[in-house]
Structure formats: C-alpha cells, structure tokens
C-alpha cells in the first residue's frame, strides 16, 4: 500500500486529494511555489515543500523539483491532480524510474490517448463511433478542401495537439476552408508548438456528454455513468450535471459499453473520462479521452456514492476495484457550478484578497474549495476558486437547491461568477433542459 503521497498540484484539487488520503490513512506532502505558502493545501497537508517561484514552469511544472520533494520527504507516490503534469507521459515515466508510484495511467496510455489522431485510430478499432473526418493530419489547404467536400459542411478544423478550444475553426462553406485551415494551423503552432490540424464533421447543437470510467491493474474496467457538460463558454466547462436528462438507460448502457471498450483497448488502469458529442438525434461520437481525474468528477460521486479519488489511489496501489458494473446505481441528480474569480459578465479574471467569506450549508450541498477569508487569490494561476455541488432527488429540486446555495454563498472582496450561475439556474431553457454546447452563445441570460 502507498504510505506517503506528494500532491503535485494546488487549489481545490490538491485539497480533494489530501482529504481522500487522510480518510485512507495515507500521509500527504504539499508542494508549492513560494507565493503559495499561505495556500490551504499547504496548511492541511502533513508536510509541505517549497519547490520554486510563482511561475508554474519553475514550480508546479518543475518535474525535477517535484521528484526531489518526494525524495527528501521519503514519499512513495505522486498524485498529479488535473492540469499541470497530470497528462505528461514523460513525468509518469520519470516517477516510475525513480521508484515512485504515479497515481494515474501509464505513460503509454497517455501517449496513445493524448494524441487525438492515435486516439481516434485506437477507439475506432474498439468499435467506438467517431465523427466522420480525417484520422491523419491534413497538410495542405487543397487536401483540406477536398476532405471538407467529402464530409460535407459544416466541418471543424482542430489542432492534433490541441484542447480547450484553441486552434479550432468551424467552417460552413468550402470557399472559406483555406483561410480557416491556415488560421487553425498558426493558432495550433502558437498554442501547442505543433501546427498539425485535422478535419471532422461538425454537428449542430450537440451536447457534451462524457462517461466516467474506473479501471484497475487487474483488467477490471467499469463506468460510473455520464456527465452532461454542455454549459460551456469558449469550450470551457462552467456547469456540469449528472445524469444527462436526455439519456435513456439503453443509451447510457450503449455509451458506457463503448467507453469501457475504449479503455480496455489500451489496457487502461486508472480513472479516466471518455468525452462524446451527443447530437440531437441521440447519435454519439467519440471526441477524446482525458487520462486523469477531472474537475467535474464530484457530480458523479454524488449520484453514485463512490469516492472516485480514493478508488484512483487504491487502483494505483494495485488494489482491485471494490465495485462491479452491477454495483453502480445512479441516484437522484447532481449539479456542479464552477465558481471562478472572474467578472460575472465579461469573465475577465479578478484576482485579489477575499474579505468576507461564508459557505452555504444544509442538505445536499457540497463545497470543494481551497479559499478562506482574507486569502489572496493569486494572478499566476487558474481562476477556479470553488466548486459548488448539489445533490437532490431530481433535476428540478437540484436546480432549486443550487439556486438557494448560490444565494447563501458569500465571497466578498473579489468578483466571482456566482451571479452568472444564479442567472443560469433561473433560466427557462436551462430549467427545461434545453441545453447544448451552444447554450451560452445562443441564450441571453
């Protein structure tokens, strides 16, 4: 079993991991940049090590410093959280070479699934439907036009190394393909140092529906049902819920089986997420796999009652899953609102000192946050400061509960997106479940 874990992350996810470790009786080491010495994960961990200056590249992305921190604290495992080094295959390898358990999938898993093109090839073999499009990088504008013609507009041009919206171009007519192609390539180059792009069918008004999977080192793979993450702004998820209100049990089983098949195809051995597009005809297409714990994992924990982070740690320690697919039951409805230190209208980041803090409470309300009164939200890092999660018997009650919890949540001194979330919770279309990834562009809140 694992004895001491270095948490190579910060913020709420670092806290989430510390909590899981404490409940498992595992010691924790927080690593932090010099400006993060007052951060809650540093205060709550059993030990802490300062690994570098504010810039992530020199601290939270500094593999050497993190490994050294593990060495000087005699830790035997590293949990990368999400973001930072969580999907860095090289880091996973270095951990292995240093005799440290990397709490996540293997480097091979990451390489295979991290690159979109190889991922598409892999899952296709496993019989998972993908959007019609290229599986290889498109090199010339001419080729791009030919492919677009083949597939039929609208098409979307995406960076192979990409993610989070950058280097994506939607094209509605063949004539505009060449420009879009060039633009996508330069964005991809700038964003990911790799200009390669590929083209696929663009489907209108799709939902972003993802399946949470859980696997161990003994070949067991199960899924914990889906999350609907359609409420996005510029491809950034803002609100997630489970279950997805349009999914039938049959469709859930079908998508779940596909997700499990995809995971098995790469001998996956940790928790992960298979992201699908679900179109208006309930046809689904594989988008990508996230080989890490995700920000929105709590909604699945609420409806399944399973502590996903604990299972991830136990799986990394070589323990077999404690659940079979038959054990998984979806109960009630859960919603998560990502509360960012941003202007609620313009979404411009608003770091600063929190002066007045009070969290909501009561039945079915969960707060995952690393902030506290008088804490300074730093400009160097992500603007996510809290995740407010509610669980209720059905979607309607969950929305009402979220609205009253948002009303109770007091964060003074900085601007937050709480007012934005309250608008969504009171929006007729959202309440009726008329949502898709275009919701926020389309709806005037």
């Amino acid at each position: 079993m694992i004895h001491k874990v270095v948490i190579a992350n910060r913020g709420e996810i670092a806290l989430r991991i510390i909590r899981a470790c404490k409940e498992l009786g595992i010691k924790t080491v927080a690593v932090h940049s010099d400006v993060d010495s007052e951060a809650l994960h540093v205060k709550l961990a059993d030990q802490s090590v300062c690994i570098g200056p504010a810039a992530s590249a020199d601290s939270y992305l500094n593999m050497k410093a993190i490994i050294s921190a593990a060495e000087i604290t005699d830790a035997d495992a590293i949990h990368p959280g999400y973001g930072f080094l969580s999907e860095n295959a090289e880091f996973a390898e270095i951990c292995q070479n240093c005799g440290l358990t990397f709490i996540g999938p293997t480097a091979e898993n990451m390489r295979l699934m991290g690159d979109k093109i190889s991922a598409r090839q892999t899952v296709t073999k496993a019989g998972v439907p993908i959007l019609p499009g290229t599986t290889n990088a498109v090199t010339s504008a001419e080729e791009a036009v030919r492919i677009a013609e083949e597939i039929g507009c609208p098409v979307i041009i995406k960076a192979t190394a990409g993610g989070g919206g950058r280097g994506m171009k939607i094209v509605h007519s063949l004539t505009s393909v060449p420009n879009a192609f060039a633009a996508a390539r330069s964005e991809a180059k700038a964003g990911f140092g790799n200009p390669e792009v590929y083209i696929e069918k663009y489907c209108e008004r799709p939902r972003h529906v993802e399946i949470q999977i859980m696997a161990d080192k003994h070949g067991n793979v199960i899924h914990l049902g889906e999350r609907d993450c359609s409420i996005q702004r510029r491809h950034q998820k803002l609100i997630e819920e489970a279950p997805c209100s349009v999914l039938t049990d049959e469709l859930r089983k079908e998508m779940g089986d596909c997700a499990v098949a995809a995971a098995k195809a790469v001998n996956y051995s940790s928790v992960g997420t298979i992201e699908f597009l679900l179109d208006s005809d309930n046809k689904f297409y594989f988008m990508e796999m996230n080989t890490r714990i995700q920000v929105e994992h709590p909604v699945t924990e609420m409806v399944t009652g399973i502590d996903i982070v604990k299972e991830q740690i136990l799986a990394a320690a070589g323990k077999p899953l404690r659940y079979t697919q038959a054990d998984i039951k979806i109960t009630g409805h859960a919603i998560e609102c990502r509360i960012n230190a941003e202007d609620p209208d313009k979404f411009t980041p608003c770091p600063g000192k929190i002066d007045g803090y009070h969290t909501p409470g009561g039945l079915g309300v969960r707060v995952d946050s690393a902030i506290y009164d008088q804490y300074k939200v730093l400009p160097y890092y992500d603007s996510l400061i809290a995740k407010l999660i509610v669980h209720a018997e059905n979607r309607e009650e969950a929305i009402r509960r979220m609205d009253r919890a948002l009303e109770e949540y007091i964060i003074e001194g900085i601007k937050t997106t709480i007012p934005f979330h309250r608008k969504v919770m009171n929006n007729k279309d959202f309440i009726e479940g008329n949502i898709d990834t275009g919701f926020l562009e389309r709806i005037k809140l």
């Binding site: 802490s48 690994i51 050497k64 410093a65 490994i67 506290y372 008088q374």
Partner: protein
C-alpha cells in the same frame, strides 16, 4: 485602563525594540504594532481563519526552516545564500573528504560552497562573489527547499 496607563505603556515600549505588543485582561485588550511591515498582521488573519492550527506539528518538519532564518537579522555587508533548488544539502563532496567551506573561510567568486543533491545529481552551488562565511545554516545531509538559506556570508 485609562489614557494615563496607555501613555505609560506606549512610552515603555518606545524605549525598546519591541515591534508588537498585545495584552488582554478581563476588562480590556490592547494591541500595539510598530514599524511598517504589514506582513505579520496579514498572516495573522488567515492563520485563524484557515485550518492552519489543525495540523501544526506536522508543518515544522520541512516548512518552518526558511521563514525561520529568513527572519534572523543581518549585519551590514552580510548576505544570505539561498538554495536555488529542492534537494539534499552536502557540505563536502563525500563523507570522507573535507568540507568545501568552513565558517571564517574566504571564498572567491565561482568557488564551490556546497552541493545540493536532487535526483541523484550533485549540483555544485558556487559563490557569486568573493565573501567570508559567517554561518553555515544547514546541517550536512539536511533536506532543503527552494529558497532555504544555506549560508550567511559577508561580502568582501
């Protein structure tokens, strides 16, 4: 406690180098702070608000080190030499051999002062300027964090 008492109290404190004074009785509470380093009070607020007290013992092991010697006052011309990386501090290239430096030694710019081992790599820490070793802050084979003070030196 009336204004006269306060006056006396303030005078008393002014004649010392006390930077903060706090007193609490059943009836009243007084808090006095001198100088303009607002950090201390800043830290104070979070510490109560945040779960710091929850796990105090555990924090010592690694974390208190830097702040500790960061606070010790320096004589003029004195400088702190801090660790640029996380690792293990070694004052000598090997257990058998002599230490790179001893207190009182004068080292030239570019001269190796110690080693910080990280991931089995021996990183030689060199002096940036000619100076005299005033204090060797870390013990041999002691773990060091980024920014930990290794030596206090006097520029020459």
């Amino acid at each position: 406690m009336d204004i006269k008492d306060i006056k006396a109290l303030v005078k008393l404190i002014m004649d010392t180098d006390i930077s903060e004074f706090e007193m609490e009785t059943d009836e009243d509470r007084v808090f006095i702070k001198r100088g303009s380093q607002q950090e201390i009070i800043h830290v104070a607020a979070p510490v109560t608000a945040a779960p710091a007290p929850a796990s105090p013992a555990s924090q010592q092991i690694i974390s208190d080190a830097p702040s500790a010697n960061a606070e010790t006052p320096l004589g003029d011309k004195q400088e702190r030499v801090t660790s640029p990386i996380v690792g293990t501090f070694y004052i000598a290239p090997s257990p058998e051999s002599d230490p790179y430096v001893r207190v009182g030694d004068v080292v030239d710019a570019g001269q190796t002062m110690c080693i910080v081992e990280a991931m089995k790599l021996m990183n030689e820490i060199e002096s940036e300027y000619k100076c005299k070793i005033v204090e060797i802050v870390k013990a041999n084979a002691e773990p060091v964090e980024f920014g930990d003070v290794l030596f206090i030196v006097e520029k020459i």
